[in-house]
Amino acid sequence: MGKIELTRVRKAFGEVDVIPGIDLTIEDGEFVVFVGPSGCGKSTLLRLIAGLEDTTSGTITIDGRDATHLPPAKRGLAMVFQSYALYPHMTVRKNIAFPLKMAGMDRAEQDRRVERAARVLNLTDSLDRRPGQLSGGQRQRVAIGRAIVREPAAFLFDEPLSNLDAALRVGMRQEISELHQSLKTTMIYVTHDQVEAMTMADKIVVLNAGRIEQVGAPLELYNNPRNLFVAGFIGSPKMNFIEGPEAARHDAHTIGIRPEHIAVGDGPWEGVVGLSEHLGSDSFLKVAVEGIGTLTVRAVGEIGVHHGDRIRLAPSGKIHRFDANGLAL
């Protein structure tokens, strides 16, 4: 079990309200990702759930039990840190067994659980090494191993992949997703990388300045962003926003159109190609359109368009409409 409920959870550091008040329910077994720009309060929120920070007001319940004032160890949660936070003076085996030792578990059961976790995480050959002798990916696996042996109610991940190189990051992302599939335990994952959020989450919580902007499934946020912030944050490259007469034509203050929803060819908009990036699978263009501004365009495959070319564009997908307050219409 691992249902977590936050009710009017507020956190202030001195005079500064980092989290002004959040209500959120995380269902048992869900993979929830907190995403948002740096300083939006996502890590603070995770630390409040972990018990590493005290709430200023509000309540946190875990499986129906009020955990607001419980110390971290009593909440039944396990956490994987950005820096791995392994104990450098202990072997991998001792690192993984540490929470079991603290729980007073007998040695035979400790060994059994450590061996099992090591098998799942492909660490059996490294059990007698120290963290300093491991690669970044292996260290991250040890950190995960230390979390899974406790069989916690929920896993908390604080930007766990940000210290890994790009290739390793993709691999570890899959491993964590597979782990979630097999364990079916609640996972809360903090990241600033919206690709991680989109690919891993059952539910994404978009945060901005300590407030929840929107909660929903990845494609729900992609297709129906509630406001300009979510529209701009979810999706890569970022959604194009157009104001002025073109927006007025759609009866909106601002309209948004994703780069992949603009077709190159015939269309109402004409402009000059500025930057053009050709990745083989995709081509990204920055096109200066008269009366609208610069639009980012994503075309599939190779297209024969280069810097300085004059091209025409047409919207080929959903046009998102927003009012003067930035809310979706």
Binding site: P71, L77, A78, F81, Y87, P88, F98, P99, M102, R150
Partner: protein, 276 residues
Amino acid sequence: MARAHSTRRKVVTTIAAWGVALTIFFPVLWMILTSFKTEASAVAMPPQFLSADWTLENYATVWARSDYPRFFWNSVVIAVGSTLLGLAVAIPAAWAMAFVPGRRTRDLLMWMLSTKMMPAVAVMIPLYLLFLRFGLLDTRIGLVLVLMLMNLPIIVWMLYTYFKEIPGEILEAARMDGASLWNEIVYVLTPMALPGIASTMLLNIILAWNEAFWTIVLTTTKAAPLSAFIASFSAPQGLFYAKLSAASAMAILPILIMGWFSQKQLVRGLTFGAVK
């Protein structure tokens, strides 16, 4: 070309290092040599180095005239006692300052250090009167307390510096793993800071062993350590350099041996955090 340059540089550095080391060591060397001379050769002008009459008589006289083992034992009790007591106070203090700092932690540390800038003689009278009042004069426990307090700012500062090097996330991880504060300090913080704690301990023992102001002022016979033992050989009737040197050599020998065997640990601890 570059190679010749680097060799020349190495030679110059080595000569300079030996020069500095010998200059620092020379007084100690001279003291040891003097301790093996007769009183006449010890004061001879020009100083005799090779032509002196070598003798072991000074050591025999010093040993016979005083109760060396008692002084030695007092030194051990005072140096080790003040160090252990200091560590017991300083480890929790440095932990709190490093991991749960308040707004005034920095000021507090500076203030602690500033007490070391005050000359000891400034508090001699009040401290002497306090010792007199509480019956602590010429007691080992009194000296343990005074030396612990004198060296506490240095111990706290050193430990604080070592603890600051330990990432806070590791201690948070221990907390998440179910470690109590006690377990966190015993299983995680202390083993990680062990080189630092060991070198703090060694340095403090050396400082306490060599302390000469309070040990001479606050003791007479019962609790007098080796610093007082040396002082007892600078007689008002005239200086007996050879015997004084023999007494000094006997006083510093134990700490010199300890320092020799632990120099690796000392250097490792003192450069902890500086080289990553």
